[in-house]
């Protein structure tokens, strides 16, 4: 709070530096995963049903560089990281960067679509239940979101598929279509997975919205807005919601981050070629370069999201903003 004037670029540089340090820490943790996670990828690499000789195992280890001292491995790995070289998938030597490049946009797209759905459902639901606190409307809205919360996505997805594609034939049951090949179809295929994910997420958003709105609705300034003759809708959507936004934004940020690596079930269910599936597959097969690359990517996104959320706090609450500068 000193009168020191921090320039925008200095602030950005500092944030960037922090993010890099965070990434470095994550990278190091991720690297050490290899040594603490149970299970050895070599057996899988040599084929699931085979009878490999000890020489073959040794050869594979040396091919993966696993026979070198840990610190050497770490040094090499770090050097590669600095060149944005995440290495290659241990199975076929396909560059991890390529995997990420193809998976990431899809994951992002699905995540954003899902979060959009969640917001569009969750926020109004939460608002309604806050405004009608203690009435049947509140109870119904609470029940709907609770069901959304307690029904696992695979069941919700299965229901959606049965209803909208097998019965009504409105939407395709699964698959992905390149945007460039057929934009309409591309979005049609996005609908079901996005709704499946978004519905569950909307529950938390609506709960948080309800609670946070209630906090604000009893503030005195709401009375002032009414005295100005502002319509209830505008009071709620413009003023109360904005005052109540911080916890909501927090939870949306958390969910968005989670979606980066947490859409496996839905991706698998709808055959959506995203990063989550890749990552989980890589984890379960101990495909370490891919695990490391994947987590670092997700971490970078997460840090970005958190940064965004933090900035949003500032935008939403001038006190937090002024404190920071």
């Amino acid at each position: 709070m000193k009168g020191k004037l921090t320039s925008f670029s200095l602030l950005t540089t500092r944030k960037l530096f922090t993010a890099l340090v965070q990434l470095y820490v994550i990278a190091t943790l991720v690297f050490s995963l290899m040594y603490v996670m149970p299970g050895d990828p070599v057996r899988l690499l040599l084929g699931s049903n085979s009878d490999p000789s000890p020489e073959a195992i040794a050869a594979m280890r040396s091919k993966l560089g696993l026979d070198q001292p840990v610190l050497t491995q770490y040094a090499h790995w770090l050097r590669d990281m600095l060149h944005f070289d995440f290495g290659q998938s241990v199975f076929d030597g396909y560059p991890v960067t390529n995997y990420i490049r193809s998976g990431l946009p899809n994951t992002l797209e699905l995540a954003l679509a899902a979060i959009l759905v969640a917001i569009v459902i969750g926020v109004p639901l939460g608002i309604v239940s806050a405004l009608r606190r203690g009435t049947p409307v509140d109870a119904v809205s609470t029940s709907v979101s609770t069901v959304g919360m307690s029904v696992p996505v695979y069941i919700l997805g299965a229901l959606f598929v049965v209803l909208f594609s097998l019965h009504l034939h409105w939407l395709p049951s699964s698959g992905y279509m390149d945007f460039s090949r057929n934009p309409v179809e591309h979005f049609r295929r996005l609908v079901l997975p996005a709704f499946t994910l978004g519905f569950g997420l909307s529950a938390s958003i609506s709960r948080m919205t309800r609670s946070s709105m209630l906090d604000i609705l009893s503030r005195d300034f709401v009375r002032t807005l009414r005295a100005k003759g502002m319509s209830e809708r505008r009071i709620v959507w413009r003023h109360v919601l904005r005052n109540a936004a911080i916890p909501i934004v927090t939870i949306i940020g958390l969910q968005l981050g989670n979606l980066m690596g947490g859409t496996v079930l839905v991706e698998a269910m709808f055959n959506w070629p995203g990063l989550s599936t890749l990552l989980v597959d890589a984890v379960s097969k101990r495909n370490y370069p891919l695990v490391q690359g994947g987590i670092l990517t997700i971490a970078a996104l997460y840090i970005l999201i958190n940064l965004g959320v933090d900035l949003l706090y500032g935008l939403l609450d001038p006190r937090i903003r002024r404190k920071r500068t």
């Binding site: 149970p38 299970g39 050895d40 990828p41 057996r43 899988l44 690499l45 040599l46 084929g47 699931s48 049903n49 085979s50 009878d51 490999p52 000789s53 000890p54 020489e55 073959a56 050869a59 594979m60 040396s62 091919k63 998938s89 199975f91 076929d92 030597g93 396909y94 390529n98 995997y99 193809s102 998976g103 899809n106 299965a158 598929v161 594609s165 097998l166 395709p172 049951s173 699964s174 698959g175 992905y176 698998a268 269910m269 709808f270 055959n271 070629p273 995203g274 599936t277 890749l278 597959d281 379960s284 097969k285 101990r286 495909n287």
Partner: protein, 488 residues
């Protein structure tokens, strides 16, 4: 293209390196692109492919192949030099080829002329030819190998099979296209195969039901009934892989054959089939030798039966009248493993064996089993070849627990001798006798306990013909029949 076959695979190949075996999905792709000297045909017999014919010398030590006029996808002709280069690559000391171990008995390979090649073995082996039929022993151009020594996993694969590789968009699809220069005239019948990957079982089943794909593999057992009823879909079923229990001989109770026999008398395989795999499968009360294979006999088919009294007596005889505690390694990643484990736990409790279940994820489980870190473990396997030598993989003894499918540290000289003899005997009658003796010994010692045959089904839409689910152990090689597949 109008004549495109869509194939829904249960997973995505993890590599394009033809010499590595990473499961069924890749074999299905591989057998569209590559051919070996020989392969298993749809009838389950060895079928001459790139080799027009071959001879085995009477001492069983020399195999000579005569190549046919075939072309690789790059236009070059298949020559003996390509064959030699391929096998040299597989057998190289630092090779990571999956079946390298089966080739170490090759002493050397001679290129007799561009169309003739000779394999000289260290010991006589009748079964060796079968390993040449594996999809992991396919022939690639020598030039390709030289160029792609290090990036075989990602390089564009070149084979001499019916389809050529077009593209692989990871996470989405793999496309192959009809190869006009395929040596079987007129084949293949479809212009293009698009492989899609459906790791989720329900999604895969939905995809065949809705007609998004024409064929799917690994039909989940619980969906069989439902698909059976679907008029648009035909099931190609076979009993391929088997499930069993292996014992760690370093665990005191299980080193005792009586305990293993007692367990064999206790486990109700019927119950396991009914519960763990939804009734789709066949119990195995003896050894997992498919009918028609050497070593199969009706008489020994039901060697063990449920006989708790007998089992208890055996336990007492072994010194465990009150049972003991043991750790069973399975996995919770695949439900049939965990269900078998739960059923086993309940059943073995009858003779006082209290099982503690250790059910990590698949990879952890695999390293545990490979490292002998278990007392008993559930395995699932398939004999890779139709020759009875596949039994070596399960029974051949060793001082280290390297193989996934044998009981850790099990080492019986008599069994090893019989397996060696069986492999080396050229005379079929003698082989029959040897393997009969083997079966008796294996049943008696019961180092591996077989539970059941698992169903291995493909679902095919009714407008598709010519796709064959190859019988028994060969089910995983059914991709071979894609060259016969037609679309109506």
């Amino acid at each position: 293209a109008g004549n495109t076959l869509y194939f829904g695979l249960s997973g995505e190949p993890s590599t394009m390196d033809p010499f590595i075996m990473t499961g069924t999905t890749f074999r299905t792709v591989k057998l569209a692109i590559f051919r070996g000297l020989v392969n298993y045909g749809v009838d389950g017999k060895l079928s001459p492919e790139l080799a027009q014919s071959y001879e085995l010398s009477p001492d069983g030590k020399t195999l000579t192949f005569h190549l046919r006029d075939a072309k690789f996808h790059d236009g070059s002709t298949v020559t003996a030099a390509d064959v030699k280069a391929t096998f040299d690559h597989i057998m190289a000391p630092n090779s990571t080829a999956s079946f390298r171990n089966q080739f170490v008995i090759v002493d050397h390979i001679d290129v007799v002329d561009p169309k003739t090649i000779r394999f000289v073995l260290k010991q006589p082996s009748v079964s060796f030819i079968h390993y040449l039929a594996l999809p992991e022993a396919v022939i690639v151009p020598a030039a390709w190998l030289a160029k792609h020594k290090d990036d075989a996993g990602t390089a564009t694969p070149i084979g001499a099979g019916p389809f050529k590789f077009v593209r692989w968009t990871r996470g989405r699809e793999l496309v192959v296209q009809k190869f006009d220069g395929y040596y079987k005239k007129g084949k293949p019948y479809v212009d293009e195969i698009v492989y899609n990957f459906y790791s989720d079982e329900n999604t895969r089943v939905n995809a065949i039901k809705s007609g998004d794909v024409d064929i799917i593999d690994y039909v989940p057992s619980r969906s069989l009934a439902e698909l059976q009823k679907d008029p648009d879909v035909r099931l190609e079923r076979t009993l391929g892989p088997f499930m069993g229990i292996v014992f760690n001989m370093h665990s005191k109770p299980f080193a005792n054959a009586d305990v293993r026999r007692a367990i064999a008398y206790t486990v109700d395989r019927d119950a396991i089939v009914k519960t763990a795999v939804d009734g789709v499968g066949t119990p195995i009360w003896g050894l997992a030798i498919p009918q028609g294979y050497l070593g199969y006999s009706d008489a020994k088919k039901n060697f063990y039966k449920v006989d708790i009294a007998r089992a208890k007596q055996l336990m007492a005889q072994a010194g465990y009248p009150n049972g003991f505690e043991a750790r069973l390694v399975a996995t919770s990643q695949y439900s049939f493993y965990s269900k078998i484990a739960v059923v086993l736990q309940a059943q073995l409790a009858q003779i006082g064996i209290k099982l503690k279940l250790d059910m990590p994820d698949w990879t952890t489980r695999t390293s545990k089993v490979a490292g002998g870190d278990y007392e008993l473990a559930i395995i699932g396997d398939v004999g890779e070849v139709t020759d009875p030598d596949w039994l070596s993989n399960v029974y051949y003894g060793g001082k280290v627990p390297v193989r996934l499918s044998n009981s850790a540290y099990f080492d019986d000289p008599e069994i090893d001798r019989l397996l060696d003899e069986g492999r080396a005997s050229v005379d079929p009658a003698k082989r029959a006798v040897v393997y009969q003796q083997f079966v008796d010994r294996a049943l008696d010692l019961s180092p591996v306990l077989f539970l059941m045959w698992r169903d291995q089904s493909y679902a095919v839409r009714s407008n598709v013909t010519g796709f064959t689910n190859m019988p028994a152990f060969l089910s995983f090689q059914s991709g071979y029949s894609l060259e016969n597949t037609r679309l109506k």
